[in-house]
């Protein structure tokens, strides 16, 4: 049936039914996303503390963030550090394990389940567990270091070690999805392509660089985008394990927003932070998609 040739009444009926079916998510977007975004923009121009009437402050909240707020600058810095380190390490770790799993090995399913397992441990539970592992006096990691005759590390209580420690925990807990997705992509690489390189005498590196890497690049891109966005949300670990310390070196962005909004009732500042976050994520998204054109290879897509 040619859809364009439908009579007007039928088209109107189709539109109505379509809206009816799609209405849950459309209403949801209006109520839970669009209206709150406008609301948050308005609140960000005020000094509202929920209890008393708000005063209009114009752009002063934003100006304050960028000029005098030490915590804002600091939280941006530590968050970017965490996001970059976590995304990069999770990417490399997952890709290497997926490449190894993709050898036709026995027990692939068991290995895959083991590598996935930490991803289903609730974040609060893994925070309790890793607090114990990182414990400076009795924790497993320092006991291992001592047994090897090495010096103890400060882990969560050291200003320079806290972010790398949290990254270690996040790689452990967060790589499951990335590994499974990479593995699926690797299994989709056609054997004849790889064999062709082999016949030409290419090494495993040639096979990876000339065939595998371009073919899995859309999935690599997906994993990078998801990794960056998820890392940006870090809150639970630092809230439970470090309270943002020591000396604010794990006071991440969302945690700072939580402090402004829910510990100090400064809704104006919290809303300003949320809009700055939105603008940053949008900019990051644009940059990523520009960048992806240079190296992501879509099969069958016209350039």
């Amino acid at each position: 049936m040619n859809r364009a040739s439908k009579p007007r009444g039928a088209r109107r009926r189709e539109a109505l039914i379509g809206y009816l079916f799609a209405s849950p998510v459309i209403l949801g977007l209006v109520i839970w996303v669009m209206a709150p975004m406008v609301g948050s923009l308005v609140i960000s121009f005020t000094d509202w503390n929920v209890l008393t009437a708000p005063h209009w402050r114009g752009l002063l909240n934003y100006v304050g963030m960028f000029t005098t707020d030490y915590f804002f600058a600091n939280s941006l810095l530590v968050t970017v550090y965490y996001v970059a380190l976590n995304t990069a390490l999770t990417f490399v770790y997952s890709l290497v394990l997926a490449l190894l799993l993709n050898w036709k090995i026995r027990g692939q399913g068991i290995y895959r389940s083991i590598f996935y397992l930490p991803a289903i441990v609730p974040l609060v539970a893994s925070s309790a567990l890793w607090l114990w592992l990182f414990n400076p006096d009795f924790g497993l990691f320092n006991q291992i270091l001592l047994a090897l005759g090495l010096h103890k590390l400060t882990w969560l209580v050291g200003q320079t070690t806290v972010v790398p420690s949290l990254v270690l925990m996040s790689v452990w807990g967060g790589a499951g999805n990335t590994i499974v997705i990479f593995l699926a992509a690797l299994q989709g690489v056609p054997r004849p392509f790889l064999e062709a390189v082999e016949i030409d005498g290419g090494s495993w590196w040639h096979k990876f660089w000339a065939v595998t890497w371009p073919l899995i690049s859309p999935v690599s891109f997906f994993n990078i985008v998801v990794g960056l966005i998820n890392s940006f949300q870090i809150f639970t670990q630092s809230y439970i394990m470090t309270s943002g310390g020591p000396n604010n070196s794990s006071l991440f962005y969302v945690y700072l927003m939580y402090r402004y909004g829910f510990e100090r009732n400064e809704m104006g500042n919290a809303a300003a932070l949320s809009w700055i976050l939105f603008l940053m994520v949008s900019a990051l998204g644009l940059i990523l998609f520009r960048w992806s054109r240079e190296w992501v290879h879509y099969e069958g897509a016209a350039a």
């Binding site: 669009m34 190894l100 609730p122 607090l131 114990w132 006991q143 992509a185 966005i229 969302v254 909004g261």
Partner: protein, 277 residues
Amino acid sequence: MSRRNRLSRVLVYLTLTLAAALVLLPIYWLVRSSLMTLVEVFKFPPLLWASRTHWDNFLAALSTSPFLLYFRNTLIVVVPTVLATLITSSLSAYGFARFRFPLRGFWFAMVLGAIILPPAVVLIPQFILWSRLHLVNTFYPLIVPFWFGGGAFNVFLLRQFFLTIPRDFDDAARIDGARYLRIYRTILVPFIQPALVAVGLFQFFFQWNDFFGPLIYLNSPNLYTLALGLQHFIGSYSTQWNILMAATVIVIIPPIIVFFIGQRYFVEGVTLTGIKM
């Protein structure tokens, strides 16, 4: 050639086994510590296993903190949100996949945008809305939003699946006199069942593990979910590591059981989400 191949194979197995052991090490340490006395926990060099398994650590954890109540509260939140997600995300996805309506492109772009929108961006006004409705410190703020499409990503994912089903199936059913809702229910839903199971499992884990939502919306200890209850437990038992680890094991067991039951769907689901994007 074949000897070199065999050597590489051994190396691959070795690396994988070593990596698997390292990944399991924290879990092993958790279980080990949860079964020891406090004295054994602090021993150096560390003991590999308890001299006698102290199940009473679990009783101690259960008696000091009402984990069964937290378990019930978690179910009260998780069950309706999973249901809500399955129903409303698939209905919305059906609407986007099968009907033309004005502004469809615009709304679909909004769905895509909402996928990468950090939830923190809309948190403050949502909280204010709930507090204006006097529904803070109830379960509603954790459940109701999921009756609206159950998350943009799920709508997107299921739409992609509906698009892979030939329209002839719908048309044939329509000629037989089936209405849209029946076509959706009897023809299309069976086709996307694996995807639905995956969506349901994702939602289950997301809600079960969620900490931020309960932290913001639940104040009374008798409403705490497992995640929030465990966080408070950490605060008061951070020196009794054996009891704390027992409490942690209690919280971890339900998702592990669900994972092993739904594993096949789960891995398929993760795979599909990565490939469909």
